[in-house]
Subunit: 97 residues, 2 copies
């Protein structure tokens, strides 16, 4: 479950770097909660092909995070923003990322 949340957050940061097809697979599985069987039927491919594609997409997301570290930086930023005393400034900072 925690992994699902993590992938969702990575997707939020890096989906623009994926292909349309990769986004479709990811959203069907992680957002629309389709099973591999349902997706296999919809795309007219084997369950195994779906399984592989999902892995390719999540590996891509992890690769982007290992290079750009936006998730890690955002978490650190959020902790620092909490220490900002001015509420208006705090809101402006929170809206940025």
């Amino acid at each position: 479950m925690e992994e699902v949340l993590y992938f969702n957050e990575l997707y939020d940061l890096y989906s623009g770097l994926l292909t349309d097809k990769q986004r479709e697979y990811f959203e069907d599985y992680y957002f629309n909660n389709l099973s591999f069987s349902e997706m296999a039927e919809n795309y007219d491919v084997s369950r195994n092909a779906i399984f592989k594609q999902i892995h390719i997409v999540t590996d891509k997301l992890k690769e982007y995070e290992s290079i750009l570290k936006l998730h890690e930086k955002r978490e650190k930023l959020e902790k620092l923003i909490e220490k900002v005393s001015d509420d208006t400034l705090k809101n402006e900072l929170n809206e940025l990322f």
Copy 2:
């Protein structure tokens, strides 16, 4: 000149997403100030091939910025950080990005 600075800043943000070869070309041209002729000789290709490769790399950097907008966000963040009154916190925020 301003464009050179901009590309350097984009490179700072996105070089990890480029291939080794793309990084080499970029650094030879923008960091080491080699001419197209010098690079053509070093890589044993035509000046035109170098010219094209440099364009491909800068287009890639601009594409990443159009998708992820890290340069734009960092500039906004820097302006907001200036308003932070606590100097320790300001430094911690500046070190993040």
